[in-house]
Symmetry: D2
Subunit: 336 residues, 4 copies
């Protein structure tokens, strides 16, 4: 059960609600949002009668939640969440293309990719400054230097930038230079990091873990919302299965499910989802046709020279083709 | 290595080719097609020099095959295979919708579904007479009676019919009444059945097994072609993974891969692939956008009364919507 | 619900029970056992009151079954099923070793392997005459000739033989020469074959399918028992997962679960379960320690010359070591 | 390639080796161990001829490494690593039992569990002070208070303690009170945390991630060794598969593989590996029989009152039984 307080509810009113919950033998957990406070009744709350709150002042609404996740659920917020990044709206009417190289490269190359990606129709620029790699001996990203290059992209090319956050130590620096903080698949269940990111005022792009169930993924998002950050973009990027004909198994079945059960925007990363350049475009089409509200794409002016993930990076002309596909696929909406 | 003989090659010419292969210490396997014979050099044939065949008469072409599957490979046959069923072409320019109830039901209901499905735009009718069920106590299909009802559908509604073949015993009866023989996911690796079906003159719809790798699936198709049946339609229907938010994990990554590596047509079954009515339409769109050449759909005039699989069966109006989607998605072809 | 009739119950008594079930709106399914008949109330039988059967003659016992499988359940038969093959008891106090080459080889080699395996402590001999292979171009077994060689092993070496049955066509020949019929992982869900094997008087060794859930596996066994064959040995042989450091992932968690929930004997096939000679012995130990009542092992006098599966075939001295391990591990029973 | 320097090699000698590597167009990475320095040639080093280092002073040994992991490989260090914690040796001749509740509980209960566990034969005490939980609303552990209770266990019961480290912020406090730092499955690929733990002088118990391949797991350990911490204990705890009859699929196939390919000790956590009290003992036996050098067990004086994971927690008498099993299973060593 979630008790949503009026936006002008007083602390005393909240405290009274919590007192009543405690008197029933339940625990309460206040969850602070941007514009309102909600009080979550924790544990099996099936037995709490709504009536006991009837006389209390300051309550806007009581929502019975049937799933383990609460604040990310459409039961709690029926309308789509739209996240504004600069002049781009993620989760709105138009699908949004986020593109760029796997890693930040030299300033010249990175700016050139950004310019060409913008021209091809990308609305956000993506590139990793800190790269979590399976091998301690592999290239780990340019770090702070990479962040300065991203700042240049923002300034000179005018695209907002997305980059992966890997720990709390580098977070202050990330917050200076990055518009959207990406949580990678390997960190989806790094709850200490999620708690900290719940307290920043910056959109989070939360990738699904390689073996995360649907509920675990939405619960990871719940960590962010429950700690105060409501700007969360979900990103499907493929799961790990027995099937080895692709780097991962892109699980598009989640797309219409997220759209039904959650108000958060959902985008898809076909680059990691299939892991091979030649299949990125068909899988981009499939993702959008399934209802994805955006795509996260690895793109480069010369994929063969990419610092990392070259085998799944598309050239700019393919990016432009995907943008045209996206426009055509919007026509599906009229066919409902 | 595959040695393709001229269509008018004599038996003596074939025998001579086999003799040469044997003299090199390799085994040969003749594979009979509709209009030609090919001789497959079995085992690791990397060491066989093409030159030794140079002087032999009757040889049309020698193809070096780099994958375990040979006759299903695009290396051997570069052009798409198009399979004609009545006046429908599967694998051609237009995506084909195959629809109908999970099981054959009463004659009246079955005919009614067929009529409405045809009107909505389906080109083939699907329904199971023999149903392989997990429980020995569950409804196992109407059997021969069901086949007679399918014959009525052919006659009175004019749609060709697809139905699952479960053993060789019922095959003669199936051949009398059914236009396309479906091999279910559970029988994909029933090689004895595949060998027998390789000898019939009837298209086979071969579903991917629940845990079949890409290569194993194509090798199952190879059993059919190697035994003489070249009319094979591949069907992705979801694989089994840890992810339990859907009945199966629809693995659309295979669609562009089949189109690249094989000449056989590929269709998708989103009904089993997601297992829930409300997600069948978005996943149908995704399948077609990924490049599928058709859809196999469970549809019913009243899904709530379906004999089996009601939870994933769509009503006729959804079927009609998917047909409209398919037309719109053909526009993607022009965007290449 | 399962209604178990007295061994001397008359047909009229059974018919009366079925009539009462029908009058309650349920279906009944008679399941014939070796020494008794049971009548299964099919479908959701939670609402059937036991009382309505109280006055009926011929009923021995009414068992409320809470799982989808009934006759294989320990709820229905609390005591372990012990299956006698010649003078060997499978499912009894001593673990049983079944060993031999993957495929039947020449008569001389096969007899030599059998002699040495017997001496090392194996109690049954295993070898495939019909081999289901992923590739149509791979060695498919010696067929009938192989069965004659197995007959020789029975005669001259005195070990009962286990061999895989792949279809109903070759079943009569199998029944002539083979003591235990193996159903391979690929045929676990070939329900037509299972129904037919339910009607033969010969023990069945039923391997778990590559992606079969626990319930699906026990339901496959239920097909055998429901059709009249109660001599079923379950065999875990590894499942298919993302993990590729072994041919399969041996799922020993099922061993204590089978022992708790079913009365059927459970053995383990570590050869396929790990797929690599050097790990067969440790995994054999693990299987027995987990409670397996036997092992199915690929063994050869010279694994490097095996017709198939040489990479996972153990030499005879390893087999002898595993037999010693098995004796030591029986000491665990005393520590309960 | 790994170039191992003499323990008294000078910095100049190391620098000279690195200069030669650079002159060949390769990168070098110094990896500092407790008693020696090694210099790793990064990237595809197959082309580096050993001869070029022949004349250089200070080199002890050059090891050609054929796997992605280097320092954890038995190729680099042929002898088993034995890790001393207090008077307990992990990785030595005797299997070691680590036991205790999932979470630290009240001081009284925790001390009581520790006392009884020690008496039953456990050599280390395990309990979580910081608990990573799927739900933000679930009990997250007692935190610092829990660490003080663990300190009491060390003092009053005399068992070394193992507890999970979840971030770098709480690491200083952990180092004060905890003898072995556990990295949980969810943090196995949290490389920032691993890099930091590579710099502490404390044994690390590294659990395998839910979907980690064998190589990824060993590479995670490599992060620790490459950053200077050679005291790493690997722990298999089950992987995520389609199979849902157990909380996880315990993958014992890795046990003999770790023992062959790595010098690090390997233990098994059957509590999470099967997830159900009644199967913990058989799976403990299986793990030890497969070659595990220890067990990590959730145990409690009253599992029904455990703060978390009660369904998989064993009572003390079962713990005592497992200790007896372990002694009996050591007899297998003599049967090699």
């Amino acid at each position: 059960m979630l008790i949503i307080m009026n936006s002008d509810a007083t602390e005393a009113q909240c405290a009274e609600v919590e007192r009543v919950i405690a008197s029933l033998g339940h625990e309460s957990l206040p969850v602070a949002g941007a514009s309102r406070t909600a009080i979550c009744v924790v544990g099996n709350d099936g037995k709490v009668p709504r009536g006991v709150f009837a006389h209390l002042p300051g309550i806007k609404e009581i929502v019975q939640v049937t799933r383990p996740y609460k604040m990310v659920s459409r039961e709690v917020r029926p309308d789509d969440t739209v996240i504004e990044v600069g002049d781009v709206a993620i989760g709105g009417d138009e699908p949004v293309i986020l593109a760029g190289p796997c890693s930040v490269e030299t300033e010249a190359t990175t700016l050139e990719i950004a310019r060409q990606a913008r021209e091809a129709g990308a609305r956000l620029f993506r590139a990793g400054a800190y790269k979590p790699r399976t091998s301690p001996y592999a290239f780990q990203g340019l770090g702070e230097e990479g962040l300065h290059t991203l700042a240049k992209v923002r300034e000179e090319v005018g695209l907002p930038v997305v980059s992966e956050v890997v720990d709390t130590e580098s977070l202050p620096l990330m917050l200076e230079h990055v518009d959207v903080l990406q949580v990678g698949a390997r960190n989806m269940a790094n709850y200490q990091l999620l708690k900290r990111l719940g307290k920043v005022d910056r959109p989070i792009l939360l990738k699904r873990g390689l073996s995360a169930t649907f509920d675990e993924w939405l619960m990871a998002a719940e960590y962010l919302l429950a700690n105060g950050n409501e700007k969360v973009i979900l990103c499907e990027r493929g799961i790990r299965t027995f099937s080895q004909h692709a780097r991962n198994t892109l699980d598009l079945n989640v797309v219409p499910l997220v759209r039904r059960l959650s108000h958060l925007p959902i985008i898809v990363d076909p680059s990691h989802g299939v892991g091979e350049t030649s299949r990125v475009r068909p899988m981009s089409r499939a993702a959008l046709a399934a209802g994805a509200q955006g795509l996260l794409l690895e793109a480069h002016v010369d994929p063969s020279r990419a610092y990392s993930d070259g085998q799944q990076t598309i050239p700019i002309e393919t990016l432009a083709g995907i943008v045209r596909d996206a426009q055509h696929l919007q026509g599906l909406e009229q066919l409902e």
